[in-house]
């Protein structure tokens, strides 16, 4: 039973078609140079294609699809290495709609009119409808309108309009981060069902994995094409085993990672899946896809040689994103938690 059905192929083709036209390498570099994201493209993505509302329920202005469809879009965003608030905004949408919270916010998020982001940080406290604390390393934290703080037993929506947000310098030139200091900022707390924070964490891990697989796929394509064309010693370098086998190992990493990503996506979409299985699958996908993207984008530079190490070549932009996306949303304790899933329960 394959994860993707024909309608997913249509969705993929639509997104890829748009991004190939509106977000080629030159366009991405213009956006990188200007900072932030391409607002006109965002309008087309959320307006024409309705992508921002894909996974928001129909009664809140979305189209009621789920993680699999978000995954398709994020793979394409990853391929294009697009600076875009998509990941953070749809994750916030999932966080709110699965909690049944912020009904008034969901329609404007679905329409792409408000951007939101998410943090799993714990350095904040809630006092009535005021939140105080430091929330660091918030992706898209400089451009988002709202911040969803994921906690237990529920979460908080913070309006960032008046917040003190300090842009950080980032290795990844395609996604900003901010340090947000909240001093009694107005906030809307909401309740959430049991296990909600874990569920949102799993969705975050898997959506990042989708973006990573898309990026890795594109980088491998680029490196393979170069190896087929570049001639040294009278033949294409891809005919030499040293290069061919390096590329084959990149393919191995990609296809293994893709298997974990598709499995996790399928579990997220399966009603009633065991939360422990979802956690294990999501963390496995994050570990596997983070590593694969780092390995592939790093080894691509080796295949491309000097040309791949120049600023003008996109290889380093993917490598930067690979390294940075591996550290998003609190990935640090994955391996320890997976040891528990493997049966080694700490005493």
């Amino acid at each position: 039973m394959a994860l993707y059905a024909p309608e997913h192929d249509d969705l993929r083709a639509a997104v890829r078609g748009l991004l190939e036209k509106a977000a080629d390498s030159a366009a991405v570099r213009r956006t990188v140079a200007a900072g932030g994201f391409d607002a006109a493209l965002w309008q087309r993505m959320s307006g024409e294609l309705g992508l921002a509302g894909l996974a928001i329920p129909e009664e809140h202005g979305g189209s009621g699809y789920g993680p699999v469809e978000l995954g398709v879009v994020l793979e394409e965003i990853g391929r294009a290495n697009l600076p875009s608030p998509y990941l953070t905004t749809v994750l916030a949408g999932v966080a709110l709609s699965t909690a049944g919270a912020a009904d008034d916010l969901l329609p404007v998020v679905a329409a792409g009119e408000r951007l939101a982001t998410v943090s799993f940080g714990t350095g904040w406290t809630l006092d009535g409808d005021r939140v105080t604390g430091l929330v660091d390393h918030v992706p898209d934290g400089t451009t988002a309108d709202r911040l969803v703080l994921v906690g237990a037993p529920g979460g908080v929506v913070v309006d960032l309009a008046g917040a003190d947000r300090r842009p950080l310098r980032t290795m990844d030139l395609t996604r900003g981060q901010a340090r947000i200091t909240l001093a009694g900022a107005p906030a809307r707390p909401f309740a959430a069902p049991h296990g909600w924070a874990g569920r949102v964490g799993a969705v975050a891990a898997v959506l990042v994995a989708c973006e990573q697989v898309g990026g890795a796929d594109r980088v491998l394509e680029t490196a393979s094409a170069y190896a087929g064309e570049r001639v040294q010693f009278g033949r294409p370098i891809g005919s030499f085993q040293a290069v061919k086998h390096l590329l084959a190992d990149m393919l191995v990493a990609l296809e293994l990672a893709r298997s974990t990503q598709q499995h996790a996506l399928g579990l997220l979409a399966a009603p009633g899946a065991d939360p422990a299985a979802v956690d294990a699958a999501a963390r496995s996908a994050r570990v596997a896809c983070s590593r694969a993207f780092v390995q592939i984008s790093s080894d691509a530079i080796r295949v491309l040689g000097g040309i791949g190490y120049t600023w003008e070549h996109d290889a380093h932009l993917y490598f930067r994103r690979a390294r940075a996306s591996a550290a998003l949303f609190g990935a640090g304790d994955d391996l320890d938690r997976l040891a528990t899933h493997a049966g080694l329960v700490p005493s």
């Binding site: 061919k244 084959a248 393919l251 974990t260 499995h263 596997a288 994955d334 040891a339 700490p346």
Partner: protein, 396 residues
């Protein structure tokens, strides 16, 4: 629609399912292992559960691939004796189904499914390993049949097999890929001598097979005379899928390592936890990739080349898990009390792991397949492609 089938499977395994650890050791008592495997397969056949996706005309059930998935789910946790049967069911059977004559299929497939006949693969030779097409076992026309002379090697379970698919050279005057033919060989035929080869582990699952004027009939040719390379390629693609779908297991599994870590009081050791987490992800990758590939096969795509990913990864995870076990067990992994029946397990696993990098095509061959057939990279210039076999430079 699979519900009734699922109940039958469940009933079978409730009655006949054997825990892998309750089965005679493949390594320590191979003859008992083979006998138990035959009994198991006959019981499956008796219960109407053998050859799920094979046509009814040849003794199969003629069901769709979703039934195979149901079977696998119900079989989980029970011994499947895949090590013995993979060559027959995963490789020889599909080749006979694709290329065999109607008569060959009717004659060979039913006894294969009943485990009355166990099959092996007579391909590799001392001088033809990675370069299989350079094999030199000669099948010379003789009357309306053939006389075969040569030597095969690394023939898994040949000493327990009744028949085998044999690749031999029928025309040394054309380039190496074009002069090969595939045959069905009766392992009891006069002129066939099987000599077990002891492996680095001490086990003897592989064999040398000597063929000395072995007579084959015209009906033993599988596919076309001179079309052996195509048949072999099909068989090797099936082998990769089979190895991906059901990776040959090292006895040192992740679960065994978890139990080891618990016994050694390392459940809270951050270094062990981290390395175990890494091994868990690697094992998940292998398992989930295998499941993905199996799904692809079911929907009719050809995953033959991509399956090399699974083979490479399965070998790597076996090495990773074996090394982790060695590290956790420490000095006891390499020197143990003779009375401890499992004392040698970790050393065995470590010695077993390298075989996964060699058997079924070396890692170099798998990487070349992936580079050329999946990524579309250009081939290496090959000086020997158009040279008649008899003029080639060969080892020894």
């Amino acid at each position: 629609m699979t519900d009734d089938f699922r109940r039958r499977c469940a009933a079978f395994f409730a009655a006949h399912g054997q825990h892998p650890e309750a089965v005679p050791s493949r390594s320590r008592d191979p003859a008992a292992y083979v006998a138990a495997a035959r009994d198991h397969q006959r019981a499956l056949h008796g219960a109407g559960l053998a050859g799920i996706t094979w046509p009814a005309a040849y003794g199969g059930l003629g069901l769709g691939p979703e039934f195979r998935r149901v079977f696998d789910e119900e079989a989980a946790g029970s011994e499947t004796f895949a090590d013995l049967f993979t060559i027959g069911f995963g490789m020889c059977g599909p080749v006979l189904l694709a290329l065999g004559t109607e008569e060959q299929r009717r004659r060979h497939l039913p006894p294969m499914l009943r485990a009355d006949e166990v099959w092996c693969q007579l391909f590799s030779e001392p001088g033809a390993g990675s370069d299989l097409a350079s094999l030199s076992t000669a099948a010379t026309p003789d009357g309306d049949g053939w006389v075969v002379t040569g030597q095969k090697v690394w023939t898994t379970y040949a000493h327990h097999s009744d028949r085998g698919l044999l690749l031999a050279r029928t025309d040394p005057g054309v380039p190496k890929h074009r002069g090969l033919t595939m045959f069905v060989a009766d392992m009891a035929a006069p002129g066939i001598t099987v000599r077990p080869l002891r492996q680095a582990t001490g086990d003897a699952e592989f064999n040398e097979v000597f063929l000395d004027d072995v007579r084959l009939g015209p009906d033993d040719v599988v596919g076309e005379v001179g079309g052996g390379w195509r048949a072999a390629t099909l068989m090797l693609a099936n082998e990769r899928v089979a190895l991906s779908d059901n990776p040959i297991g090292s006895p040192v599994t992740l679960d065994a390592v978890v139990a080891l870590a618990r016994r050694h009081g390392r459940a809270d050791d951050p270094v062990v936890r981290r390395r175990l987490g890494e091994a868990y992800v690697a094992q998940q990758e292998v398992d989930l990739f295998a499941r993905r590939i199996a799904a692809e096969v079911r929907v009719g795509n050809d995953p033959g080349s991509l399956a090399s990913v699974g083979k490479l990864a399965a070998a790597r995870v076996a090495r990773q898990v074996a090394a982790l076990a060695l590290e956790i067990a420490g000095p006891e992994a390499v020197a143990w009390d003779p009375d401890d029946p499992d004392g040698g397990l970790w050393a065995y696993g470590e010695l077993y792991a390298p075989s996964l990098s060699i058997a079924g095509g070396t890692e170099q061959i798998q990487r070349t397949i992936l580079g050329e057939r999946v990524l579309g990279l250009p081939r290496e210039p090959q000086a020997d492609r158009d040279v008649p076999f008899r003029d080639l430079r060969r080892s020894g």
